[in-house]
């Protein structure tokens, strides 16, 4: 098997060799409260290289989390380690490379004071600026601050750049959203019930310092962890208890989104999803001119699409990376190689590479222009491009045809349709791209068996190797017996032996099908649906309507002799809410001359 590190265009190689350490191993660890503009105390842990002389000045790497900046361990493990840091990069590495590492609990969480009504509130973002003000007045600070994080911390890092603080030199969001409505909460307008419920449940328990939550979702952590780490001076834990008491007033998104449907539905403080998006802060982030290194995976929720949207829409100098691992790159996720057990490069090398990027921005000329590195599945190669879609991009239409086939020929017959009674037991299980946000592995096993419950169309074997890179567009001409419903579409590879491998998917709630001709809030390559109440259209039972939407972006090589398959479902029961809430619709997908359903696949033509 090819060593992914050895092949050309590998972003981890392009970011440079790992230099000698500036400092010997070891760091000092302290924690304190930083008081921000409105008096709220933010818990911060500070790691400095051991042996830092009083006249030495160093840059700072800041991470801001809502998942406890550090954990107090149970005995006997506390007798071995002062604390466990799960949400910040390895302090040993960061400090040895000559950076101070500071990690904080965002307001309303962990050991910090304050309350939180919504995630990524304006006040939470402003806190980042106040923390920088504190950092640059420290005797060891050289006045430069960079920020990184994965998942929630990615978004705090990216929004942090929008503070336009002169000390902020670079940010690195890993596995972060661009558009929270479509990337995580309501992909295609379908409510990601599983994640939203679990995420809120986890958040509430963390904010109340209840480790028992882990016994249900991460038992190994429950065995190890007693609670959030108090700050050093809080020996009687009174400050911690006071902070936790204030978290009692926190609000959680699940309670406020469960009964909602639309992008413009209000969150508890009167804001809407767009207000906490990255795209809404585009002007501020661009104004900062801060270089961004954004990285993610094709397989992670809607966050792979977020990378592409970020790359197409932000003018900041940028390196963007799309690989084949799980959320946060803890595990491999390449469905074509399930035997793989480790992600390359390993976390230690990855962190060192990330610091190379920060070094360029702090000490060097930064980065110029934009470059997106993407990994092509099956071909197992990294590619790089400075435009999206990449050069050679061309759409190819494949029509739904008789005998459940996909063909290049447009239907010539006047009548042709397939009925499918929705099977509400259809599921991708709990190791799919959405559950992955909780840190779980990604495995779309037994697709042959799963597809038996679905309506499937399969092509003839391909005559040559074909690269598909970008977002597949699905266009269905369909009718339903009900006013509401959803379509879940799985795009798959079928090998010569008939084995079916998941490549990507897309989901779409049918009431959102209106395609708007007005300018979308950001540039996109898929049909623009507003997901707003005013644009919602219940289906008229029995009437054929056009439903056109994009699947999640991918890059894959379909090998000569393999076939492509599109499998249609009406539910994914372990992840999404059921549409409609009652009844069992039958959908009819047309495949005739007048109503020719198709998929449009983005082919990359070789030079």
């Amino acid at each position: 098997m090819t060593d992914p590190n050895a092949i050309k265009n590998n972003p981890f190689k392009d970011l440079g060799e790992i230099p000698e350490k500036k400092y010997h191993d070891g760091y000092t660890l302290n924690s304190t409260y930083i008081t921000v503009r409105d008096g709220v105390k933010i818990a911060a842990t500070i790691c400095l290289p051991k042996g830092l002389s009083p006249d030495e000045k160093i840059p700072t790497l800041l991470t801001q989390t809502r998942y406890w900046r550090a954990m107090e361990l149970r005995i006997p493990f506390r007798w071995l380690f002062d604390s466990m840091i799960t949400n910040a990069p390895n302090p040993e590495i960061v400090t040895s490379r000559g950076y101070a590492l500071i990690y904080t609990d965002v307001r309303g969480t962990g050991a910090s004071f304050g309350t939180r009504i919504i995630p990524f509130s304006e006040e939470e973002v402003k806190d980042g600026s106040d923390i920088v003000d504190w950092i640059i007045t420290q005797p060891w600070s050289d006045g430069n601050v960079v920020s990184k994080g994965i998942s929630y911390l990615a978004t705090t890092a990216e929004l942090f750049s929008g503070n336009n603080h002169r000390a902020i030199k670079a940010v690195m969001p890993g596995h972060g959203y661009w558009d929270p409505y479509t990337d995580v909460a309501f992909p295609g307008g379908c409510y990601d019930h599983a994640f939203m419920q679990m995420w809120s449940f986890l958040g509430k328990n963390l904010d109340l310092n209840s480790p028992k939550v882990f016994s249900q979702i991460m038992p190994e952590v429950w065995l190890f962890v007693k609670g959030v780490k108090p700050v050093s001076s809080d020996t009687d834990l009174k400050l911690l208890q006071d902070a936790i008491n204030r978290h009692e007033s926190n609000k959680y998104v699940y309670e406020h989104t469960l009964k909602r449907d639309f992008r413009d539905d209000k969150l508890p403080d009167g804001t809407v999803f767009d207000d906490i998006s990255i795209f809404a802060q585009k002007e501020k982030i661009e104004c900062s001119k801060v270089p961004i290194l954004a990285w993610c995976s094709w397989y992670d929720s809607g966050y792979g699409d977020a990378i592409i949207n970020r790359f197409m829409n932000l003018s900041n100098p940028m390196i963007a990376i799309l690989g084949d691992w799980t959320h946060g790159a803890g595990l491999p996720a390449n469905q074509f190689y399930p035997e793989r057990t480790v992600v390359t490069p390993k976390p230690r090398d990855r962190i060192n590479t990330w610091i190379n990027f920060f070094d360029k921005c702090v000490y060097g000329d930064g980065i110029q222009g934009k470059m997106l590195y993407y990994y092509t599945l099956v071909e197992e190669e990294w590619k790089k491009t400075n435009v999206w879609p990449p050069l050679g991009h061309n759409y190819q239409k494949w029509y739904f045809s008789e005998n459940y086939s996909l063909t290049r020929e447009e239907p010539a017959i006047d009548v042709g349709a397939d009925n499918y009674k929705i099977n509400f037991r259809a599921t991708t299980g709990r190791n799919n791209r959405w559950w992955a946000l909780l840190g779980l592995p990604i495995t779309y096993y037994d697709r042959n068996k799963v597809d038996e419950k679905l309506l499937c169309y399969t092509s003839q074997p391909f005559g040559s190797d074909t690269e598909i890179t970008g977002q597949i567009i699905l266009c269905l001409y369909m009718a339903s017996t009900h006013e509401d419903g959803a379509v879940f579409a799985y795009f798959e590879d079928v090998d010569e032996s008939g084995n079916v491998i998941y490549i990507t998917d897309g989901e779409f709630r049918l009431i959102h099908r209106k395609i708007l001709s007005t300018e979308p809030p950001y540039k996109m390559l898929t049909p623009y649906h507003s997901y707003k109440k005013v644009d919602s259209l219940p289906l008229i039972p029995g009437e054929i309507t056009e439903v056109k939407f994009g699947l999640h972006a991918t890059s894959v090589l379909i090998k000569k002799g393999h076939r492509i398959k599109i499998a249609i479902a009406g539910a994914d029961k372990d992840t999404f809410i059921r549409y409609p809430t009652e009844g069992r619709p039958t959908i009819t997908i047309s495949r005739c001359k007048e109503f020719s359903s198709y998929i449009k696949i983005p082919i990359i033509k070789k030079e």
Binding site: R74, I75, P76, F77, R78, W79, L80, D82, M84, T86, S210, P211, K212, S215, P219, E220, V221, W222, L223, F224, K226, G227, S232, T235
Partner: protein, 119 residues
């Protein structure tokens, strides 16, 4: 966390000395690593015995913790209670790390047997 699990048994054994005095019904745990703050609270000792040692019932014991010397003394009223805890302490570090390792590999069978612990 998975990276450190294999070395935890050795680290715990190197970091502690457990001694039993059968004549006085006493068990002492000495922590050799320098600990910032409190070595432990009495409640944490009970949680440890239940969580990792499989202790199901409440065993009367006096728990003295000296944060200066980093010595924890468990004193029992009778031989039966002393022996029960002594047996647990003989393998508790191995048991704790085994539970952790199993759980990190997705095997929660031993965790299911942990009695209710009110954190």
């Amino acid at each position: 966390m998975e990276e450190i699990i294999p070395s935890l048994k050795g680290m715990l054994k190197d970091a502690t000395i457990i001694k039993s005095d059968a004549t006085r019904f006493e068990i002492t745990i000495t922590i050799l690593n320098e600990i910032k703050g409190n070595v432990a609270d009495p409640d944490e000792i009970l949680v440890m015995l239940k969580m990792f040692g499989g202790l199901k019932e409440d065993v009367p014991m006096e728990i003295d913790i000296n944060n200066e010397t980093q010595i924890i003394e468990l004193k029992f009223q009778n031989e039966e209670d002393f022996k029960k805890i002594q047996k647990i302490m003989e393998t508790i570090w191995d048991d704790a790390v085994d539970m952790l390792e199993q759980a990190s590999q997705g095997d929660f069978s031993r965790i299911k047997n942990v009695p209710n612990i009110d954190d």
